[in-house]
Symmetry: D2
C-alpha cells in the first residue's frame, strides 16, 4: 500500500542541494523512492530566468542515477517575502488505514514551437494528466485536488527555428499562452470543461473558462510537460491530507481559511505545504479599486502578483515558504487562482 | 471646537485631480479648510520617481490659492495590488463630544545636502514635530498615534553642488538615511528615545532604536520636511478615531487585528484609512525563512516590501487602497513597522 | 520669408524649464514664435512613464498663453549615457538666400481606443502629415527628411472603457502598434508605400514595409497625434540644414557618417541636433551575433536599444545629448532605423 | 616555446557548451591545453546573477577532468546588443619567432567576508597577480596589457555569517568594493601605484587612483580570486598580439582607434577579441552633459553603462560580441576604463 512522504527543504541558492543531501545522509529521505520535486527558485520567473534550469541541473547531479524519472518542477520568482525552497515527494510502501494523499506523475512528448498555445497543447496535456491520475489510483476526477504542470515557452531562438508560424512572437507572452493551454488541458482531463469548449476556447483571453485545480508554470528548460497530480485516495495510507480552495480574487482569504478548517489545521493537523497561483486581474481592479500591475513596464505583472498574493497567504498562514506561482491563465477565475494545501495529522 | 474630516479619493494617474474637484464641486469638500493631503502614487518610490512631484504639481494647480499651507505628502510605489489614492484632511468648526481624532501639521526649514542623514536632520525634524503636536492641541506624546514626514533625498546634482561632504554618494541609499534620521526625529520629539540616544545613534544601521509612530517617505521634490501629526484629543469632536499598532515583522497581522478590535471596526466603526510602513528585514529572514529582497538587483527591496506587506494587510482588511510606504528605517523593529488606522463611527 | 531657429536646452528634471525661461528672459528665444518642442525625458519610455506628461505640463505652465499651438513631443527614456534635453523650434521672419531647413506641424483628431493599431490610424496620420508638409512650403515628399509623430497608447483604463474590441490587451504592446501604424501613415503620406500596401500591411509584424523618415513615439498623455515635419525648402532661409540617413542595423555608423559628410559637418557646418530611432532586431541577431534584448523580462527591449544605439551615435558624434527614441516599428529596416541630422553653417 | 591559441565561441544560453564541444570534437581545441575561459553571460551582472555560476557549472561538467586548473571568469550582463560568448585560451607548444601574446593565470586564497573591500583584499590580489605575471614569462609590468580578476561579493547570508564587521551591508555595493580593491591590487602589482598609496586608498571613493590594465568582475560563485594576465613576451610565439587603451570617458573612441592602429587591425591583422570596462561617471556628466544612470532605481548603473559603452565599441569595431564588463572602480579614470584588444596576424 503506498504512502506519500514529503519534505519542505529551504535552499540558499538555486543550486543548493545541501538540505536534500543532509536528509538523504541522515536516512530521512530515500532517493530511490523520489517521484517528484516541486520548488521555488529566486529568478524573475519570466523568460530569462535560468535559476529554474540551474536548480534542475544541480538536483540531477546531486541525485545521480536516482534522478531518472523524478518530475522536477521549479517555479521562478520569490518576490516580496517568499522563501526559496523545494518540496520532495516520495512514495513508500506501508500498511495502514486510508484515505490519504496520493501522488501521480507524468511526462508528455515535446511540443513543437508552433503547437505552443494551441489546442494541440491542450490535448497533449489532457492525455498526460489522465494517465497520471490513473497511475495514482485516484478513482475519479473529484478526488484530484492539485495538478502541477511545468510547460515550455518560446524564445527568440525557438521562434526563428520554428517550421510553422508560432502563436506569438513575444517571448514573455508565450509563457502565458503555454500556461493557459496547459491549464485547459487539466480542465479537460478533470471534466471541468468539455471537449467542445476546449476546442473553441480562445487561449489566454477567455477568463471564464478555467480549472480550479491546475497550477501551471512555464520554463525555458523543457519543450514537453512535467506533470504532478495530488489527490485523496482510499488506496493510499499515511498522515498526509490534501484539499484545495479557489481564491475568487487576489485578497480572498475566506476560501483558503475554509479549506484550512476542513483539513483541521491547528486542531488535528498542521499545515505542511501551500501551493497557490496568483495573477493580476485583467479588469485592472481588485474589489473595485484600481491596481497598476498591468501598466508597469518595469516589473512584470506576474512578479507583482506573486509578491502581493504571497503577502496575503503569509499573513493568513504565518509562514513565508509558500509556493506562489505567477501567471494564472485559465487557472481559477480572473484575478484569483487555485490553492492547494497539504496538512499532516499531528 | 475643531472637527477633522477625511476623504479617501482614488486617482487614475498621478495628475488625476478629477475626484478631488468633484467633491469640491458637490460641496462635500471645502478646499479652504484643507490642511493636508497624503497619497500613494504609482512611481517606483525610489530616487527617479517623478510621480510624487507630478501629483503635487497637479494638486497645487487644481487647488489654486487654497493650496497655500496644505501639507502634501505623496509616497511613491503601489506595487502588488496596492491602489493609487489620496486622503484629504480638513479641519472644520463644530460642536459635540470628544475625544476625537486631531490633526496638526508643520513644515521645517530646507536642509543642506550635507546635513541629510545626520543629527542636524534629527534635530530639525524633532523641533518641527513638537510644534505640530502642540498645534493639534494634543496634550502629550502618548496621545499621538501617527507622524507622517516627507523628507528630502540626494541626487547626483545635489551631491555635486554640496558645499560639504555628504553622508553617502549613493542616491538610493540617501533615501534610507533621510527616512531614518526623520524617524529618529519623531522618536525624539515623542520621547521614545532621549537626546543622548539620538545623538549617538548610527543612522540607518542601529535597528534597535525606533519610533512606533513615525512614517517617513523621501522625495526628490523638496529639501525640507512636511509633517502631519494624528492623535486623539479631548479638544476635538466628530466621528473619527485613530489608533496604531507596531508590526513586529512583515507578516504580523495579530498586532493590527488587535488595533482594529480596539477601534471597534466591524462593530461600532468602519475602517476608513490604513497607513503602514514596510521593509525587508536586515537579517534576510522572516520567522526563520530566508527572503531574497536584499539580494535582488532588479527590484529595489522597498518595492518588494510594499507589495508583500500590502498583500498581508489587504488580506486582513479586505481592501487594497492602503497607504503602504517602503523604507522603515528606525520606524518600528527591523523588518516590521508602525501602522496607523483611522476608523469612523457608524 | 521664414527662417527656422532652434535651441538645444539641457534639463535637470522632467519639469525643469529654467533653461527655456533663461533664453526667453535673455531675448534669445521668442515664445510667440515657437511652433514645436521635441525632447527626451528620463522616464522608462514605456506605458507608465509619466515624465513625458509632467514635462508637457511644466512647459505649458512656463509658456502660458504662448503654449497654444506649440507641438510638444516628449520621448521617454535616456538609458545609457543619453542626456535629457529639449529642442525648441521657432519660425522667424527674415530675408536671405535659400534653401534652408523648413518646419511644419500638425495635430490630428483623437483616436478611439479601438482604432489604435489599425488602418484607421494609418489614414489619420497620413492626412495630418500631408497637411503639415504643405504648411511648411515643402514642394514634394523628396524634400522631407524627418517626420516626428507623437501617438497614443492603450492603458488598462482605456481598454476597459473602449466601445469596441481593441487591437491588443497588452498595454506595452499597444505602444508598438501605435508607433507602427503612425510610421505607415508617414510612409503613405511621403509616397514610400502606396495605399494598397498600407491597407494590406500587417501592422507591427511586417518588417519589410517602412518609412525612412518617420520617427514615432507613443505617450499616455494624448489620444491624437502631434506631428512635426522637417525638410529643405527654397522658400526658407537661414543657416540650418537638415538631412537624413537610414541605419541598416543597430551598429551601422557608415550611413550616418555619410550624411554628416553631405552636411559638411566639421568643415562648413557644426552638428546641432541628432534624431534617431532604435530597436532590437526581431531576428534576435546583429550581424549574425545573438542579442538578448527580446528575451529580457527585466528591462524592456526598447530601453536596451536606446542605450545601445545611443552609445553607437555618441561614439560617432562625440556628444550624448541625442534624441534616440525606442520602438522603430515600420521605421527603417528591422533592427535599424531612420536618423535625422540638423547642422548649422559656421 | 609556448604559443597561445584562442577561440571566440557564441553561446545560446548560460549552460550552452555545444560550441565548445564541437571544437573539441573537431580537433580544433585541445581541452588538456586549456588554461582559461573568459565569457559574458546574460544575467543582470549584479548580486543575484546566477548565470555566471550556471555557466561555470556547465563548462566544468563538459570538460570533466580537463576542467581542473582552468580559470573560468564569467562576467554577467549583455545589455543593449552585446552578445553572450566565451573566449577560450590554450597554451600549445610550438616553435617560431617572438614576440607574441603570453598568458598567465592564478588563483588566490578565499577571502573572509570582512576582508572584502579592505587592504587585505588589495594585498591578496597583488600577490596573486605578481605570481601570474611571472608564470607567463613576462619580463616586466610594462609588457602586461590586461589583468582580468574575478572577485567575490557579499550576500545577506555571508554578512550574517561573518565573524567580523563587513565593509558594507549593501550587497550590490559590496560588488563595487570588491572590484575596486581587486583593481588596486593589480595597480600595486604592476607598479601603477606604490604600497603607501595602496594602503591609504579610500577603496571605492578615490577615483584618481586606478589601473589602466585591470578588469575586475564580482561574482557570487567564489570567495577567492581567479586571475588571468595577458601581455607581449619574446618567449612566446604565434600570430596573436595584444595591446590596450584607456578610455578617458564613456565615448572616447579615439584612444581605442589608436590601439587598433598600433595593432595593424584592418592592415596586417584582424581583430579577434575586445575586453572593456564600463561605468557611469560619478560626476553625473559625460563631456558636460548630464546622464541619468546614477539616479535610476529601476536599472543598475552598471547595466546602463555596459549597454552604452557596448554601443560605442560595437559602432567602432562593427561587431557586438564584445566583452564589456560593468563596474570600473579604480579601473581607468572616473567614467572611462581600460580596454584590451587581441588581434591576429592575417
Amino acid at each position: 500500500m503506498p504512502r506519500a512522504r514529503i519534505h519542505r527543504i529551504p535552499t540558499s541558492s538555486p543550486d543548493d542541494t545541501s538540505g536534500l543531501r543532509a536528509l538523504i545522509n541522515a536516512g530521512d529521505l530515500d532517493p530511490s523512492k523520489l517521484i517528484a520535486i516541486i520548488g521555488k527558485t529566486e529568478g524573475n520567473g519570466c523568460v530569462n530566468d535560468f535559476t529554474r534550469a540551474f536548480a534542475v541541473s544541480a538536483l540531477t547531479q546531486a541525485l545521480g542515477e536516482d534522478s531518472t524519472g523524478v518530475s522536477m518542477v521549479m517555479s521562478g520568482g520569490t518576490e516580496g517575502g517568499l522563501s526559496p525552497h523545494i518540496v520532495t515527494f516520495e512514495v513508500l510502501a506501508d500498511t495502514g488505514p486510508g484515505p490519504a494523499m496520493a501522488i501521480g506523475t507524468g511526462l508528455s512528448r515535446d511540443l513543437e514551437a508552433h503547437e505552443l498555445g494551441t489546442f494541440a497543447q491542450i490535448d497533449c496535456v489532457a492525455e498526460t494528466v489522465t494517465a497520471a491520475v490513473k497511475s495514482a489510483d485516484l478513482t475519479g476526477a473529484a478526488d484530484v485536488h492539485f495538478v502541477q504542470v511545468k510547460c515550455p515557452l518560446l524564445t527568440a531562438d525557438r521562434i526563428a527555428a520554428s517550421r510553422a508560424p508560432v502563436a506569438t512572437p513575444d517571448t514573455l507572452k508565450s509563457m502565458g499562452l503555454s500556461r493557459g493551454a496547459s491549464a485547459l488541458g487539466v480542465a479537460l482531463a478533470l471534466g471541468e470543461i468539455d471537449l467542445a469548449t476546449a476546442k473553441a476556447a480562445k487561449i489566454g483571453s477567455d477568463p471564464d473558462i478555467w480549472s480550479g485545480r491546475a497550477s501551471t508554470s512555464a520554463g525555458i528548460e523543457l519543450m514537453g510537460h512535467e506533470i504532478v497530480v495530488l489527490g485523496m485516495s482510499d488506496s493510499w495510507t499515511g498522515p498526509l491530507r490534501v484539499d484545495h480552495a479557489v481564491m475568487t480574487d487576489a485578497i480572498d482569504i475566506a476560501s483558503v481559511a475554509q479549506a484550512l478548517a476542513r483539513l483541521g489545521v491547528g486542531e488535528t493537523t498542521r499545515l505542511r505545504v501551500v501551493f497557490a497561483k496568483a495573477e493580476a486581474s485583467s479588469s485592472g481592479l481588485i474589489r473595485g479599486q484600481r491596481h497598476t500591475m498591468l501598466d508597469d513596464s518595469d516589473i512584470a505583472s506576474t512578479r507583482h502578483a506573486r509578491a502581493f498574493v504571497g503577502g496575503v497567504l503569509a499573513g493568513l498562514t504565518g509562514s513565508s515558504d509558500l509556493y506562489v506561482s505567477g501567471g494564472a491563465e485559465h487557472q481559477g477565475p480572473d484575478g484569483g487562482g487555485p490553492t492547494a494545501l497539504i496538512a499532516e495529522q499531528i
